[in-house]
């Protein structure tokens, strides 16, 4: 059975700090890893990673995949209170629709 584990489960930082969120996966016939931000109900898409070692960047957020270590990290620099959310990662199989999500990391950014 596929498995995705995120760490830490929760994190409290102050504005301006840099954070690193971790995601490890065990996914049969792995195709891609997805990162989402969930503030209220609907997760919003952040990144899709398919190739190892290639950093994807969007503003203060960046992410990279390590297929050798079966893991990914999400970095957020110069955090703001608006970054407070649950960050979810998911592993997706090739030739299958099933995505396995981790339990998420709850990030709280204090002013």
């Amino acid at each position: 059975e596929d498995k995705v584990v995120q760490s830490p489960l929760s994190l409290v930082v102050h504005e301006g700090d840099t954070v690193t969120l971790n995601c490890s996966y065990e996914v049969t016939n792995f195709r891609s890893l997805l990162w989402y931000k969930q503030e209220k109900k609907a997760p919003t898409f952040l990144f899709m990673l398919t190739s190892s070692g290639i950093e994807k960047k969007s503003g203060r957020l960046s992410s990279i995949l390590d297929k050798k270590e079966l893991s990914s990290i999400l970095n957020i620099t110069a955090t703001q209170t608006g970054d407070s959310a649950i960050y979810l990662c998911a592993g997706v199989r090739t030739n299958a629709g099933k995505s396995t999500f981790g339990d998420g990391t709850t990030l709280t950014v204090k002013p």
Binding site: A96, G97, K98
Partner: protein, 113 residues
């Protein structure tokens, strides 16, 4: 439409009743997914559609759960004889192809009393 829509946004039902949850995916998206999220938990995969067919139903928790998709668009998730443990937020997502980024709807919060 501009995004994935779901209805109703909230549903309170009595134990033992049947409920239907609806999802309208982004126009043109061929893949559609249903997930369940209990309080404080991650997303639990339920079922995936490619077009109108469901090649992966492995996540449906029991035979009380079923889903269909018609016209390659709207999908309905039906829960029969609801139980209290069915209480959760049910999220629908769509993508333009399987394995690509999924865009989520706002969810339906189901409460079984």
């Amino acid at each position: 439409g501009a995004g994935v829509s779901q209805s109703p946004s909230n549903k309170v039902t009595e134990k033992g009743k049947d409920v239907e949850l609806r999802c309208d995916p982004i126009s043109g998206h061929t893949a559609l997914y249903w997930y369940r999220q209990s309080l404080g938990q991650g997303l639990e995969f339920l079922i995936y559609f490619q077009g109108n067919s469901a090649p992966d139903k492995s996540g449906l928790p029991s035979d009380r759960f079923s889903a269909e998709r018609t016209g390659g668009s709207v999908s309905t998730l039906t829960i029969q004889r609801t139980q209290q443990e069915d209480s959760a937020v049910y999220l629908c997502a769509s993508s333009d192809y399987r394995g690509r980024e999924q865009y989520f709807g706002p969810g339906t919060r189901l409460t079984v009393t």
